[in-house]
């Protein structure tokens, strides 16, 4: 018998605590597979955020730190500076990274800190029960925008990749999605690339996953994928926003 798929070594045996149909499980797996494939597990430290993935330290089988809401990039800075011989990643949601932790992510990126950020954009505050996020789409109803997000009143969603790509220091920035098997395969390549650059100490790498939250969007998982394709992808365009390796290796 041939084994063609198995649990990545970089994931523990603990069962995920995410809702059925949630994409957090897929993004965890992609990160863990890259750690396996690049043989990074024994040199890896991860930081989990405050959000639905707050318990991710139980799932990734490497040393982990749990940050205060939004502070993961500051923790990661301290960790990488304390242990330059190790590798670091953070895993953060949209409220964590683009609301309470905006200063921390912008400045870590701007310093070109040598770690990878995996950013889960599900357009909502999942953990606290579906409130409006900085990435909630115009008109989208949430428990704190019950009449739909009014961009005239509260502003437009923030695009993390575009924002960070204006900075000089970041090495690699890409937005991928988890909305179909084809998208997941592309996402896997992007995660691998970011982790490889991380291993090679090239600089700050950032991957955004356009994700879903079926529970708080009030949709069946398959419906959530379709909804996200129709509504999120036009606003959050997929693609590479920065890749310094092209300049370095392209000649």
């Amino acid at each position: 018998m041939e084994i063609i798929a198995t649990r990545p070594k970089s994931l523990t045996k603990a069962q995920f605590t995410y809702c059925p149909g949630c994409t957090h499980g897929i993004s965890h797996r992609l990160v863990a597979e890259a750690m396996d494939e690049l043989d990074m597990r024994n040199k890896m430290m991860g930081v989990c955020p405050v959000g639905c993935s707050v318990l991710a330290y139980n799932f990734f089988d490497c040393d982990m730190a749990e940050a205060a809401h939004g502070r993961a990039p500051a923790l990661a800075t301290g960790m990488k500076r304390a242990r330059p011989d190790m590798h670091v990643f953070t895993y953060q949601g949209d409220g964590d990274l683009l609301a309470i932790g905006t200063a921390e992510i912008v400045h870590a990126a701007n310093r070109g800190e040598h770690f990878s950020v995996f950013f889960v954009n599900n357009a909502i505050y999942g953990m606290t029960g579906g409130q409006m996020a900085p990435t909630t789409l115009p008109g989208m109803k949430t428990s704190t925008s019950p009449y739909g997000r009014d961009e005239q009143d509260i502003g437009y969603p923030i695009r993390a990749c575009e924002l960070l790509a204006t900075l000089e220091a970041p090495y690699y920035i890409e937005r991928v999605s988890l909305l179909s098997p084809q998208h997941v395969l592309k996402a896997k390549k992007a995660v691998y690339k970011a982790m490889k650059f991380n291993k090679e100490e090239r600089g700050f790498t950032f991957i955004e996953f356009v994700s879903t939250c079926p529970t708080n969007w009030g949709m069946e998982p398959m419906k959530a994928f379709e909804w996200a394709k129709e509504n999120m992808l036009p606003f959050f365009k997929l693609g590479v926003f920065k890749d310094k390796s092209v300049e370095e290796e392209g000649k």
């Binding site: 024994n42 490497c62 500051a74 923790l75 301290g78 304390a82 200063a103 921390e104």
Partner: protein
């Protein structure tokens, strides 16, 4: 013995921290502690350490959390408004039982206040300051020499108990120049040894099974019964610290004392001058100077205030904060008088002398 050098308090504590093995320092500029961050920016690269000027005090304390999670000696510093921002991180550091050293060069408040010396952060420092049930060790220097000596002490205590140690200085001690003598710098071997002491819990390079470790630096525990046990364990640690780590100075304490003063830091320095003057006039006034503000020298104050003591005088550069601990220590045994200054003003030895004469 090493020779003495004339140095500002802020620079002396920075130099002493480097000698104590601090190789990571994260901070944001603020007066009156800027000489400290400037000294670190200059000297840290020379010892092969890390200096980062962070985007905020919130980020700085969280960098401390990350570095401490790797078992390294790490420090941050600020002055009052910045220390308020650090409270979130200090609470998480307490919850995750991480060692850390934090220096507060206190200035006048509330709000933006001013940049003169003050002692208005006593409550914040000794009552935890952030959310949840926790303690930090609080050390209060009254000379530049003592400020410098507190760096190795703070790192040792932080490592021993896995706790945040706050050094509560003020604008006067930070800015003042005095001769200081430094303890010898830790050798590379000693630093390596220090690094190994935390391997049972900290993050460090891993191995495959069976020696694989999965260390988690964390303050989250959703099961109330488990969290209760964790907090009760913290309490055991705090009780141990209260038993072992109380530090204080007695000055002119004798059976003749009619008045015993209680003051810390800069206020204690000024009080000593007044006591010396009164001594020349044949008046016997004692002083208890708490060096650890938490744990507070409760029993020691009780003991110093013998039956001949008519009154206790608490002196602070605040509206009166430590006085609550003094009153708790004395349990109403004698009246506790108070002299204070706020807004960054400091009382003179003459004013203190006059106050003592008034209540004698």
């Amino acid at each position: 013995m090493a020779e003495k050098v004339l140095m500002k308090g802020n620079e002396a504590i920075a130099e002493a921290a480097l000698r104590a093995g601090c190789r990571l320092y994260f901070a944001y500029p603020i007066t009156p502690q800027s000489e400290l961050i400037e000294y670190m920016s200059k000297m840290m690269p020379k010892v092969g350490g890390t200096f980062v000027q962070s985007e905020s005090e919130i980020a700085a304390i969280n960098m401390v959390y990350g570095a401490s999670g790797c078992g390294k000696r790490v420090m941050t510093s600020s002055s009052s408004p910045g220390i308020s921002l650090k409270q979130e991180g200090i609470s998480y550091i307490a919850g995750a039982s991480l060692p850390a050293v934090i220096v507060n060069v206190v200035r006048g408040g509330p709000g933006l206040g001013d940049i003169q010396p003050a002692q208005g952060d006593y409550f914040q420092a000794t009552r935890g300051g952030g959310h949840g049930d926790y303690r930090t060790i609080v050390l209060a220097p009254s000379t530049v020499q003592e400020f410098a000596d507190m760096a190795p002490l703070a790192f040792d205590l932080a490592d021993k108990y896995r706790i945040a140690v706050l050094i509560l200085s003020d604008g006067l001690i930070g800015q003042m120049m005095e001769p200081v003598e430094f303890q010898p710098a830790k050798t590379d071997e000693e630093l390596e040894e220090l690094g190994r002491q935390h391997e049972s819990w900290c993050m460090y390079p891993n191995e495959d099974e069976p020696n694989h470790h999965h260390h988690i630096i964390n303050s989250l525990e959703l099961d109330p019964h488990v969290l209760s046990d964790l907090v009760l364990n913290l309490e055991k640690k705090y009780n141990e610290i209260e038993k072992n780590e109380i530090r204080f100075e007695e000055y002119n304490i004798s059976p003749d004392n009619e008045i015993v003063c209680v003051a810390y830091g800069t206020a204690a320095r000024i009080t000593k001058s007044a006591i010396d003057e009164l001594k020349k006039e044949g008046k016997s006034i004692g002083l208890i100077r708490p060096i650890t503000l938490w744990p507070f020298p409760t029993e020691e104050i009780k003991k110093a205030v013998h039956n001949n003591v008519k009154k206790v005088l608490t002196l602070e550069l605040s509206l009166g904060q430590m006085i609550e601990d003094v009153r708790l220590a004395l349990e109403g045994k004698v009246p506790v008088e108070f002299i204070g200054r706020v807004g960054g003003l400091v009382f003179s030895p003459e004013e203190v002398k006059a106050k003592i004469e008034e209540i004698l």
